[in-house]
Subunit: 308 residues, 2 copies
């Protein structure tokens, strides 16, 4: 049985992003325009929606973590802008529209990415309500997840790897490039909520397993879609990985084995959620008539079955 993507959470994220007020003045208005151009280009908002769904699973109101959720999407957008640059993947289309540097020029695109990253921390640190110790821990996790042992390190390995990385190094590359930020979308909520310290809660372990499997699943499906998707579905030309000579789960294992690996990760992610549900005590934090992990399950199912 397949759950559905929590569109109500995506809409909540979308409204929050639309309403984000970047401090504006005349000489920087064009920068803010470029940042918003890329930020508001749509998409499923998987990372912020994950954060909101995780909040529900630990007994918080999803809206309580909207500033964190926005920070995650700002950071994701920044990474897309920099990845698309001529010196990197040199992609002209993203989500069916010209990439930031095609629209605004390379210099502005670099700065739009830089600005989004800075404003992500600015927004998180200025607007996220939580005890100071917890907010610090979440911000530190976000910085680590996007640094050398995270997103930027993974992107470095990706652009410099050529055809050198295989097997465990390929998995490590993707763990850094996409897995760490997806993981942080879950982990930062646990840190904000104090769920990692609650003696009668489900603990962080099943959440960590879930996030790790989800990261792997996301990447495998991404690699498969780059081979099987249509340009219209993808919003960019198909076969970009092969043209860049990139090793992927498909080039490494073949498409059939890649599909099996995806199925295994999906099963493992759902099993981790079942463990969360089993550990939430009746009447305790997160207890509800509905399964508090239903939205997380919907995200996993969506990632597994998505076609774009």
């Amino acid at each position: 049985m397949s759950g559905t993507y929590p569109e109500h959470l995506r809409e909540e994220v979308e409204r929050h992003l639309q309403a984000l007020a970047f401090p504006g003045e005349q000489i920087t208005a064009g920068l803010v325009e470029a940042m918003r151009y890329s930020l508001l280009a749509g998409g499923k908002r998987i990372r912020p929606v994950l954060a909101l769904a995780t909040a529900r699973a630990v007994g918080m109101e999803p809206a309580q973590v909207l500033p964190l959720a926005a920070a995650l999407e700002l950071i994701h957008t920044y990474s897309l802008i920099h990845d698309d640059l001529p010196a990197m993947d040199d992609d002209d289309l993203r989500r069916g529209q010209p990439t930031c540097h095609v629209r605004y020029g390379e210099d502005v695109a670099i700065l739009a990415g830089d600005g989004l990253y800075a404003e992500a921390f600015n927004h998180l640190l200025s607007h996220q309500h939580a005890p100071a110790e917890r907010l610090l821990a979440a911000a530190a996790e976000l910085a680590a997840a996007t640094g050398v042992v995270g997103m930027v390190g993974g992107q470095y390995a990706d652009v410099t790897a050529e055809d050198g990385l295989r097997g465990s190094q390929l998995r490590r590359l993707h763990e850094l490039k996409t897995g760490r930020l997806i993981g942080a979308s879950v982990l930062c909520v646990l840190l904000l909520s104090g769920a990692d310290e609650a003696p009668d809660g489900p603990g962080t372990e099943p959440f960590r397993s879930f996030a790790a499997e989800l990261g792997v699943l996301f990447q495998i499906i991404d690699d498969i879609l780059d081979v099987t998707g249509t340009d219209a579905e993808l919003g960019k030309p198909r076969g970009s990985d092969a043209r860049h000579g990139k090793r992927t789960y498909v080039s490494e294992y073949g498409i059939e084995r890649a599909r099996e690996l995806a199925a295994e990760s999906h099963t493992a992610a759902k099993a981790a959620l079942a463990e969360v549900s089993a550990r939430v005590p009746a009447g305790g934090v997160g207890a509800a008539t509905e399964d508090p992990t239903a939205e997380l399950a919907g995200i996993a199912d969506f990632i597994y079955t998505r076609t774009s």
Copy 2:
């Protein structure tokens, strides 16, 4: 009378930067190498030295703010790497050695900048000792100072301005591009120390004035040196501003008036320090047999009289 630059503080910063352990693994080793190449290229380390000197002025041990100081220099280095990129100022030399993209390629240079920024927050949030509320306030100030209403916004205005900005807009550009991070080097220490709340301390106002004047002074001297310095002194070709068609204090006011403006800012910066000294009560926080602002005065004098 002219004070001397606090070389002992610069050496302390240098040792801390040299010893910074960037988490390393095989697939990201080249990224860390590029980051360290630019980070350890020398320089006067004005921002971190300012932070250490401010710590002394509010009665802390300078070494207590070394993680913040390192974060400031990581961020400054990131901004230099991105500013030098072909799509921005397209500079080949920095501090007498090939710029990061010349040495490692444009893709790696973009990511080295991105990585330095992430690791700056990672280092600050993970290693700076301070009450959680104060550390949060300092981190938020650092994010704001480097975002749209700060360093990145100023750089945007600089690369897009062509010859459009004059007078107050030119001053605002530099306030954002260089002034805000120089200001944050002082302000973050006040936030960490709680000096902004101490009822018998000098308060933050004279420090803010000092930092603001120092930022202006730094920029005017930078503009003057771009016209009067030698390539060897500057570590890069002279006349870069004119070649890029940039408006500077020199192009705007002429070199004689620019020198007068520098003198005025230097005088105002020193006056602000005198106010700090006058307000520190005998026997109170920061009281010492020596003037606790002597190192800050040395920095202001150095910036005013520097030739490179």
